[in-house]
C-alpha cells in the first residue's frame, strides 16, 4: 500500500471521528463537551446522558453505518455494471423495499416485521432486476441499468397506489420509507455487523474488481472466474443496500457520489476505494444528518432532503466539468 493511500484512510478515519463528535455536540439542546464525556463514564442518570446515549449517539452511529453501507454498495455496483451511473437507488432497490414495507404497514404488522419485509423487498427487487436483465443472454451493463430504471418506475407507481388506498393514520409511518429518515433508527448492531461483513468479504475481491472494470474478457483472461465474482458482488451489494434501506429508508446520492469523489482524488484502486468509501460515506451522512437536525431546529428534516441537496448540485457540477467518464 502506498503512503498516499494510508494517509487518505487515516485522514478519513479522523474525519469520521470528528463528525461523530460534532453530531454528539450539535443539537437544539446545548450540551458541553465535558457533559458528553461524562455521559460515557458516569453511572449517574442525567438529562444530558439520556440525550447523548439514547438519542444522539444511536442516531449518529446509524447515520455512519447507513452512509457506509450505501457508499460501499454503490462502489460495488459501479464496478459490477461497469457504469458510473450505477447506484442502489437507481436500480430500484429502495422502491422494492418501500413497497414491501408499505404492504406490511397496511396489514398492521409490528415494527420488526416491517423492517424484515423491507429487507426482503430490497433483496427481491435486486433479484428481479438481475433476473430479468439476464433473460436469455448474458448481463450487459446497459440492460441491467435500463431494467433497474424501469422497475424503479414500476415501484413508484405501486407506492402511489398503496398511499392512495391507505387510511390517513398510517400515512405518516409510510412516508418514512419514501424519504430517508434517521430519526427512527432503533438498533445499529445488525447494520454494523452487515457493514463489517460486507467490507471483509469485498476486500479480498478488490484486486479482481479492479480488473473487472476493464471488461469481462480481460478479467477472465487474467485468471478470474468472472461468473462467480459477479454473483458474489451482486449478492454483497444487495445485502448492503437492503440493510441500509431497512435502517433509514431511501437516502439517495451517497452511493452515487462518494465513490466518484474518491476516484477524483486519484484513488481508483478498489483495495483503497472500498474502505475509503465506507469512511467517507459514513462521515458524509453523519454531517448531513446533523445538518438535518439543526438547520431549522427544533423542526427536524429527513436526512434524504439534505443528502439530495448536497448530492444533486455536486453530481451536476461533476457532469458539467466532464469528470464523470463515459456517460
Amino acid at each position: 500500500m502506498n503512503p498516499r493511500a494510508i494517509l487518505l484512510l487515516l485522514l478519513l478515519s479522523l474525519v469520521s471521528l470528528a463528525s461523530l463528535m460534532l453530531a454528539l455536540y450539535a443539537g437544539s439542546i446545548h450540551i458541553t463537551w465535558s457533559e458528553i464525556l461524562a455521559s460515557f463514564y458516569s453511572d449517574r442518570q442525567s438529562m444530558s446522558q439520556t440525550l447523548v446515549q439514547e438519542l444522539r449517539l444511536p442516531r449518529a452511529l446509524g447515520a455512519f453505518i447507513t452512509g457506509g453501507l450505501l457508499a460501499l454498495a454503490g462502489a460495488l455496483l459501479q464496478v459490477l455494471l461497469r457504469n458510473p451511473l450505477a447506484d442502489p437507488y437507481v436500480l430500484g432497490v429502495s422502491g422494492g423495499a418501500a413497497v414491501a414495507a408499505l404492504l406490511a404497514i397496511m396489514t398492521g404488522a409490528s415494527a420488526l416485521i416491517i423492517s424484515g419485509s423491507a429487507f426482503i423487498g430490497a433483496l427481491c427487487s435486486m433479484l428481479l432486476v438481475f433476473g430479468i436483465a439476464h433473460g436469455q443472454g448474458s448481463w450487459t451493463p446497459t440492460r441491467l441499468l435500463l431494467t433497474g430504471i424501469v422497475l424503479a418506475a414500476g415501484w413508484g407507481a405501486m407506492i402511489s397506489f398503496i398511499l392512495t388506498i391507505s387510511p390517513e393514520q398510517t400515512l405518516r409511518s409510510m412516508l418514512f420509507w419514501l424519504m430517508g429518515d434517521l430519526g427512527y433508527v432503533q438498533s445499529t448492531s445488525a447494520g454494523f455487523f452487515i457493514l463489517l461483513l460486507g467490507l471483509l468479504l469485498s476486500l479480498p475481491l478488490a484486486r479482481s474488481l479492479n480488473i473487472l472494470t476493464q471488461g469481462e474478457l480481460q478479467a477472465a483472461s487474467l485468471g478470474i472466474e468472472t461468473r462467480r465474482l459477479r454473483i458474489m458482488v451482486y449478492l454483497l451489494a444487495s445485502m448492503l443496500t437492503a440493510a441500509a434501506v431497512t435502517m433509514a429508508g431511501s437516502v439517495g446520492f451517497v452511493g452515487l457520489v462518494v465513490p466518484h469523489l474518491i476516484r477524483m482524488l486519484g484513488f481508483s484502486d478498489n483495495r483503497i476505494l472500498l474502505p475509503a468509501a465506507v469512511l467517507f460515506g459514513g462521515s458524509l451522512l453523519i454531517l448531513a444528518d446533523t445538518l438535518a437536525r439543526t438547520v431549522i431546529a427544533p423542526q427536524q428534516l429527513p436526512v434524504g432532503v439534505i443528502s439530495a441537496a448536497i448530492g444533486v448540485p455536486l453530481f451536476l457540477f461533476l457532469l458539467y466539468r466532464g469528470q464523470v467518464h463515459r456517460l
Binding site: 484486486r207 476493464q214 487474467l222
Partner: protein
Amino acid sequence: MSILLETKKLCVTIAEKTICQDLDLPIHTGQIWAILGMNGVGKTTLLHTLAGLRNPHAGSIELIGSDITQLSKRQIARILGLLLQDQEDAFPGTVMQTVLTGRHPHMSNWQWETDTDINIATAALDFVEMAGFAERSILNLSGGERRRVALATLFCQQPELFLLDEPTNHLDLRYQHRLLDGISTQLKKENKAAIMIMHDVNLAMRYCDHALLLFSDGSFQQGSCREVINTENLTRLYDYPMHSLKENKLEIFIPG
C-alpha cells in the same frame, strides 16, 4: 522443442456457423503462428477458444499435457496470456496500475504487489517504450499508446504462450515493426510461443514461422509460412486476386 498447446479434433462453431472442424494443431515452444482469414471468418472466436474463454463444440485442447477444461482460470492464466482485440476502460486508473494487473494470476487474494512485481511491470513498460508514462491516466492515452500498455500488461503476466488478437491494431509503422520484432526475438530467446491474428500478410511472413489459414467455407490449411502462404492460397483466402514480388529471397504479396 516441446508442445505447449495442442488441439485434438477441435471443432469450433458460433451461431450454427462452423469455424473449423477436426483441427489438430500442435504449438511447439519457439514457434510463432499467424492466423489469417477474412473478416468474420471466426479468427477471434477460435483464439478465445484456445484461451479457454469459451468451450469448443467438439474435440479438446491440451495445455502442457492437461485438458484445458480441467484447469482453473488462474492456472490457465499462468500459462497463456491473451491480448484482446480492443481495450475497454470504464474507470480511470494509472498506466502502472493497469500493467500491474498482469501480475494478478501470480498473486494471492490478500497480497499486494511487491517490488519484484513492480520491477517486472517497469521492464514491460520499457519494452513497449512507455517508460515515462507510468503515472499517466489510461483514459488520456492515444489508441496506439493504450495498445502498447495492453501489450505491456501481457508481458507483465509472463505467460508461456502469447495469444495476440491483431497485435498491430492502432500501431504506427514504426511500432508495428519494433514490437513484432521485439516479441519474436524475446519469445524465441525464452523458448516461448505465440499465436497471433494478423491482417497484414507481409508482416506475418516476416515475423511468424507458421500460419493457419481459415477459409470462409470452414476449411483450413496449416504449416510453415513458406508452405502455406502463396498467391494461390491467398487469392482463395481473401477472395481477391493476389500477386507476389520477389527480390533477394524476400517475397512480398500485393493485391492485384
